[in-house]
Structures are given as C-alpha cells and as structure tokens.
Symmetry: C2
Subunit: 544 residues, 2 copies
C-alpha cells in the first residue's frame, strides 16, 4: 500500500504512514486503546469541529535491529515506496531517478527524494528475500525466439566493447513498421515486472514493452523507451519515456508496473482505465526492438534493488556541485511571506541522506569516488544558513543543521536526528567502532582518504557529529510537549503557533532517538524515547 498524501517536504525520514482523519468525535468512543497498535487522539479541524485522529499501523516505532552499523539498513526505509508516491511524476529514463512534482508541476530532481529512493532500495536489498529473476536473452546461453518483422534482422555476436555476447538488431525506426518482437506470454514471468537490460541504441532506435492489464475489461498499453530528453509523454495507448540522447552502452532498469502507473496517471484518457493497476493484474505481452542497436542481459525480475540504488548513487556523484552540495532548483515557501527560500537552496537533509547513501555505495562497491563525494558533502555543514549553507545556531551557541535553512531558523528535530546518523555513517567519529562495521573497506584507508579529500587532518565529520549531538541532547526537551512532540521550533523563532508533530512524525522521532540511543548512552535520549512511546499509549507528563 502506498500513501499518496505523504508530504515529502518536511518529512525527511518519516514513515510512509499518515494518520486518517474525518471521523466525528461523537461517532466513536473517546478511549485510548492500550493493547493494540492503533493510537489516536482528539484533534480539532480548522472549522472548529473535533475529530478523533487514528494513527494507523504504519505509525509504528521501529526498534534498531541489533547494534548500529553505518552500512546496514537506514532507519525503517525498507518500508518506503518512494516511486509510488503521487508527487513522483515518474522515474526518469535518462538517469533512473524519481522526478518530483511537489513544488513544480513540470517535474524536477529533488535530492532528498532521490536519496530516499536509493536508500529504500538498499534497505529492501538487505531485508527482502532474494528476488526471482529470469534471463530472457544474453546472446549466448540464453537465446529467446525473436520474430523478425518487415525489414528486420537480428544476429548474435561477441561485442568487443562489453566483452560479452550481444543481440544486434536492425529494423525500421518506426515502431508501427516491423521490429524484432519477442512474445512473452508463454514465459512464466508472473510478478516479475522489473525489466533490466544492457543497451546500445543508434539514431532513433528504441525498445518497447506491451503490457496487458486485466480488471473488468482487458486494457493494453505499450511503453516505449526512446532516445529523447523528454521525460514522459503519452499518446493514446502509447507511453514514451526518454532515455536521453547520449550514445554508448548503458544499463537500463525499469519497473514496468511503476512505468505503466505513472504514464497512465499523466494521461486524462488512461487515468480512469488504469486506476487500480497492480502487480498481480499486469502481464507482459511482448518486448520489441526498433531501429539499429545492440542489447544483452535482458532479464525480468521481481526486484532489482541494487540497480535502483546505484542509479541514485550515480546521480548524486554526477550532480554534486563545487560546494559539495545538491542544490534544489525550485523555491520553497515554508510559511508564505515569513519563511521562504529562493531556488538553488541547499538542505541539510539532502546532504545528510546523500551521505548516508554514498557511504553505503562506497561500502558495497569499494569505489572510493562515493566516499570522496560523501566527504565533500560535509562542507555545507560549516556554512551558515545566512550565507547559503545549512548551519544555524540556537541561543547559547548550539549548532543545528537545517532541512530548510530559512531565516529565522526552523530547528526541525528529525532532520538533526537523520544527520547525526549520517555523520556517524561517515565513520570518522569513532574509528574503532567503524572498524568492526566497515567490513570490506579498511577503516584506516577510509579515514586517510577523507583527510586527503579535505586537504587537512581535522576530523570534520567527528566534529560535526559531536557538535550536533551536544545540541540534540541539550535542546531535545524543548520538543517535548508533555503529551507529544513538536516537529520544529518555528514558534520560538517566528512566534507562529507551535508546529505539533502528527503521529507518524512522532513515531519517526522515537525511531530516530532509539537509533541514536544505540550510539550515545546519555539518558536524556533513551528516557525521552521511552516517554514519547508512552505518549502513544495515552500517557501524559504530570501537571503541577
């Protein structure tokens, strides 16, 4: 199940759940259930009526699974389904990352969303059972029965560029005229809707997939992957994803369910017909190749999490700027006229989640480029928000790192939590612990590399971590309302009403505190986590 109302701006590391509202107070018993995992409280709607707001089962606290490791799962991100979110326009064909429409309907890349997409697939990779996978065509051992249409020819050769066998094809560029067609109805591809292939396209070559959706009626649609910079277009029952215009071999991984869903959603005529598209109702009818090119390692799988993970990691590598940041290309109004950010702002959340992803990519691949990028990403944490960075201070010299570096500051709690985890990931704070967790990469090497990248011998991530942890432990109580938690301290800085955390953010706070409690044993962290759990069972702090 995916939850379309989930608000990514301001969510960061929130769980996917969202509290359902709408039931009248008078219709339901006003009691707190101490036994089940359903929580709730009376809330007031803008029109003044009272509702009892249930917090459904997604609003759960996740206890850390075993000791903290900077290369393991990231919070409970294995439950995320980023690409299914309504505000994700689609997964781009050019780079394989989500395109957001949240603050700009034409679509843009939002680094937080991309990092969450990558991290969620990394976590799924670690936690799910092995995917089912079937090799359709590799030009050698696995050879499929391609039908050659008008003016179409396929042949299998060893390709000197990729050092493997490939299927070369030559056919009309127009998909309505011939093409190499592979019917898949007889192959048992049930629930294996993630298509992956190595591809080389010339001219206006393309490949396409025809799928069938069985609901009340049987609906058929064809998805075309073409050489174009246009992200997504729909004409009649044809959905076009642009793969970009670059030349050379590449790997393309597409979740066909998501591609159908996003394509249909963007089309007024298809939207209704494909409303309830789901894995079990979708069948791949055929795959076809058009124009001139080569292809190999065509697989269908139930999941290709690492492919998506590296698509995100590589996007971060490619788009990191000279400040080590991933600037956000759209303006952001946190509170209209009070707290606004112009296009091009940086987010500590983006930097932190990117670091968490990159350090895992470095760990998994052993490729030091990811590590260098993670280290470079720390720079903006030493630049004040007033100068375009992400750092601010609470009175008394308590540093904070801001998701939205507005002036005045917001002091969002879950962002600091996330970033502390990220710094911890950096493996520089306490090398000894990292030695154990790091596994494949020599920690001494990691530390030295980090210092080389920065050109100094200071322990940057360690300092950032220590300073942030000091702030967290000092200021954490200011988010405690005695019956719940606050999302940020905007009331302190702007004098607007306190911004109470809804239940799923409250549970996120607890989950993050439990994670930090496994790193730092200060009782303020563990006791706050316990008290905030108790609030979910209807407890409140005493009044005087």
């Amino acid at each position: 199940a995916h939850h379309n109302h989930h608000h990514e701006g301001g969510d960061g590391a929130s769980s996917e759940g969202r509290a359902a509202t709408g039931e009248r107070l008078s219709e339901i018993p006003c009691v707190i259930n101490h036994e089940s995992e359903v929580y709730g409280r009376v809330e007031q709607k803008p029109d003044g009526t009272e509702v009892f707001e249930w917090s459904h089962s997604y609003s759960r606290v996740y206890n850390p699974q075993g000791p903290y490791t900077p290369t393991g799962t990231f919070l409970n991100f294995e439950l995320y389904n980023v690409e299914a979110r309504e505000r994700v326009k689609c997964i781009s064909g050019t780079e394989g990352v989500p395109m957001s429409t949240q603050w700009q309907s034409s679509g843009y890349t939002y680094p937080i969303q991309i990092a969450q997409f990558g991290l969620s697939h990394y976590c799924k990779h670690l936690t799910e059972s092995s995917p089912k996978r079937i090799m359709i065509e590799d030009g050698g051992e696995h050879q499929a029965s391609w039908l050659e249409g008008v003016n179409t020819k396929v042949l299998r050769v060893a390709d000197p560029m990729v050092h493997t066998n490939v299927l070369k094809f030559k056919a009309p560029e127009s998909s309505s005229k011939g093409g190499a067609i592979l019917h898949l109805a007889k192959i048992p591809t049930q629930n294996m809707l993630v298509l992956s292939l190595n591809l080389l396209l010339h001219g206006n070559a393309s490949f396409s997939v025809t799928v069938e959706f069985q609901d009340k009626k049987t609906e058929v649609v064809t998805i075309h992957y073409i050489r174009s910079e246009k992200i997504l277009q729909v004409l009649d029952r044809h959905i076009y994803y642009g793969l970009g215009e670059q030349t050379g071999w590449r790997t393309v991984t597409r979740n066909l369910l998501i591609d159908v869903h996003k394509g249909a959603t963007s089309s007024p005529s298809l939207r209704k017909k494909f409303k309830k598209v789901s894995r079990s109702k979708l069948t791949i009818v055929s795959l076809s190749l058009h124009g001139e090119g080569s292809v190999t390692n065509i697989t269908l799988a139930s999941a290709e999490h690492l492919h998506h993970f590296y698509d995100a990691a590589n996007w971060l590598l490619k788009h990191q700027d000279e400040q080590g940041g991933w600037s956000i290309p759209v303006p952001r109004k946190v509170i209209s006229g009070v707290l606004e950010l112009g296009a091009g702002w940086y987010s500590a959340m983006a930097q932190g989640q990117a670091m968490s992803l990159l350090i895992r990519a470095a760990h998994h691949s052993g490729d030091s480029r990811y590590l260098k990028a993670a280290v470079r990403a720390t720079s903006l944490f030493s630049v004040n928000a007033t100068r375009g960075g992400v750092r601010t201070y609470f009175p008394g010299g308590y540093v904070w790192y801001e998701e939205y570096p507005t002036n005045p500051s917001l002091f969002v709690l879950n962002v600091l939590d996330s970033i502390l985890s990220a710094f911890r990931c950096m493996g520089m704070a306490e090398v000894v612990e990292v030695t154990v967790a790091w596994g494949e990469v020599d920690p001494t090497f990691v530390l030295l590399r980090c210092r080389q990248v920065r050109g100094d011998s200071s322990n940057i991530s360690g300092d950032l971590f220590e300073d942030g942890m000091r702030s967290l432990k000092r200021l954490l109580p200011l988010y405690d309302t005695g019956w719940g938690s606050l999302y940020d301290l905007r009331h302190f800085t702007t004098h607007v009403p306190p911004n109470r955390a809804r239940w799923d953010y409250h549970t996120t706070h607890i989950t993050q505190l439990l994670l930090l409690a496994s790193i730092d044993t200060d009782p303020v962290i563990s006791s706050t986590a316990q008290r905030w759990k108790d609030y979910m069972n209807g407890h409140r702090s005493k009044h005087n």
Copy 2:
C-alpha cells in the same frame, strides 16, 4: 470558598482555584464545552486511569481593569483568601501575619505568603464596598456597659501617651477569676467578626473573646490573647494566641472567624465540632479584660483590610536583612535529590511580591521607609543563584529570576511575569507613566530617593525590567505546548518530564500576559495570550 489543596510553593500568583479530579472518563461525555466558562481535558492519574479534569469557575482569565497602575490592584489578588488556606497554621498574634506549615509543621514565616496576604487585603480594600464597622468603646463618645467581676475595676481617662481617652482596667490575671466583661449579644454585630483595638498590657494581662458556633449543636469557645511568644495553644475549649512579650501601646486586629477556625483545626477534640464554622453561624458572646492594662478604640467590623495590609508591610520592613532580602528559613525540595535548596534561600517571588506590596504601602502612606525597602529588595536580582541570589541565565544570555534558585534552574514562567510587574511597580522604568499613576507621591522625589538609597544614579529597576522583558519575549514560546502551557522549563534543565501547568496556572499565565501586554505591545505577548485563551476553548495549534 477556600481550596485547601492549593499549593503555595510553586503557585506565586496563581488564582485560588484548583481543578477537581476523580470522575471517570467513562462516566462523562468527552466533549469540550465551547459556551460556558467550564473547561476541562482528559488527564491521566498516576495509577494509569483516565479522568476528565474540570476546571471550575475560579480558573478564569482576568482581563486588566483599565490601564496599568503600579498602585492599583495586584492581578486578581482580591479573590485570594490566604489566611483560610489549610497550610496557614494561623495569623500570629505577635505580628499579625500568617504562619506557614507547608514545609515545616511547627510553623514559620514565609515571605511569599505574607506578601500575598498583604496584597490580597490591599486589593480587597480597593475593590470591596466599604466595610460595616461599629465602635464598641473609645473611652469617650462610645462607652460600653462593662460588668466588673470580683476584684475588678474599670475607669475612663485621657492617656498622655496616645493622646486619646482610654479604658483602664484592673482585674485578676486569671481569666477564671473576675475580669471586666462586656456582653455583646444585644449589640447588632452580625457578620462583623473582625475585632480591632488599641491595647496596653502589663504583667500577664490579657483579653479574651467568647464566641458561639451554631450548627447541629451550639458550641462555645473562648479565644484568649495573651502576653506570650507562643503562637497558638489550645486547652479544652480555650484557644490561646500569643501577642508577644513586648511592652507599650499597640494595635491588634483579629479576624475572629479565622482565629476560631485555626484554633479548632489545631485541636483534635475541637476539630470535628467546628468543622463547618462559617461567618453566618458565629456569634460573639462577650469580650473580657484580665490583669492590668488600658484599651481603646474597640471596634467590630466586617473587614479591616488596611490593618492586615500594614501588618504585612511592617513585617517586611522589620525583617528585611542586610542583603535586602527575606530569606526562607526552611529547606525546600523541588525534586528530591535533584533540585533542593537549603534553609536560608531567597526567592525572586518573595522579593518581587514584597516590592509590589511595599510600593503600595509607600503610595498609600507616603512613608518613604517602605520605598527604601522596596529599592533595597532589588539587590538580590543582580546576584546569581549559584551565589545565593535569585538570578540565572538561559543559554544565549537571557536573564531569568527564580522563585526557587536551584541549580540547575527551573525557569518558572509565572514568576518572571510577576516580577516584571513588580519592577514596573518600582516606577523607575518609565518615570513619565509613573507620574500619572503615582498620585500622592511626587515621582521625581521617588526616583531621587531610589538613587540615594542605592548610592548611584543607575536605573536599576529599569534595567531589571528591560532585561527580564527581553527574556520573556524570547523564551515565552518555549512554554507553549500547542494545547496548553508549561509551568517551568525543568525538563530542559534536568531532563525530567515536562511540568505541564494545570488549568488554573494556565489561566494565571494568561492573566499575567494580558497585564504585561498593557505594558509592552510586542505581538508575541498578546498573540500568545490569545492562543492560550483559545486552548481553554478546546483549540489546539495545528499539527503538520
């Protein structure tokens, strides 16, 4: 009605009301009443059960009556009935001020309680209609019919010491043998239970009052006012108040209802019989004089608020120490083992309420001794709590003045509010406004006198006021939970759970903010007051 559970330590300027608890959630509808002045919310008891806590009519917000004047009423203290509180042992005969038993059962003077006692009577004096008063005996125009018992003689003479006619009496010192007796049953003294007289006692002379309490049975008790340092003793149906052993003329004012009530309460045998003693059920039977002495201006009145006010003011004058403070002679455990104060600590609340009282006494009497004492009382606000003073700082250099100057700090909100009012009272912050309010005393004179007392030309109260107001405006949002207010910031300094303000303290916060809003127009004060009012109508701040 008086509310015995009211907690003076930690109340300061709270209203007298207390929310009643105990009703089970299941027994009452869980709705917020938007129309009436009854408020409430679901609270949890220590045993885990839920109760709906009503806030009765005493928990009301008081809007300032007209523009702020430093010599007018003090908050809503006209509603206070300090001497009726259960933790007040009695009103001492020696100095006419309440004796507290809250933290030490033998009784001690607690400057906050004494200041509140005085201020409440000052406010009642300003707000109540004129008391009814009857002159019983003044040795001249008004002559009562004294019965002369065995070996007893009275005569009326002009006394050269007090420049007035007096009644001289000579009788056995033992009250069981003779005495000058005045039967009052025929005099219409209904509801006039405050006895006042000018008195000179020699040796073991005394006076006594016999009163009758009509409930199911008629109970009779005699109150003896004797030359002794013992505060209160009860033997059988005789209650003894010690007037001290000093010689010379003095004025004694006794609320007989309170004296009966406190005496009966302290006696296991009388306690049950005088349980429901009330004004309308009490009749004064007789007054009698024993031993040798003089008396005049014997009056009975429905109230003598100014007498009580000056008893408190004179106690403050007499007991102010060389630091300008009134130290508290008992230890105080705010949180056992965490926040404790040894005997002899100072309280900003005591200093502030004393200043508020003294400045009113200076205003009313024109006597500059009260003014000097008020100015001296500011000294401890410039001494840090760690050095025995009442000042502390929130991170970022925000000064706070502490009722309980513990280490770590508490940052009680209503204390700062009260103290800001007190500083304002001092008339030094903005002399122009005070010129208008001051009335009888020339403000230039006041300012000069203050500077003379301090020996410098600095504007001490003005600085204290400005610094405190800056802190209040900056930190006020930290007390806002989105549905109520916090009483203090102990969770921030000690990591215990947040100390939520119960409804009557919440209303006190609002009342004090409305008062401050009439002094400072910063919207954070007025908007917070409005939002906190809205919380009482069931509103909450939005969640994200």
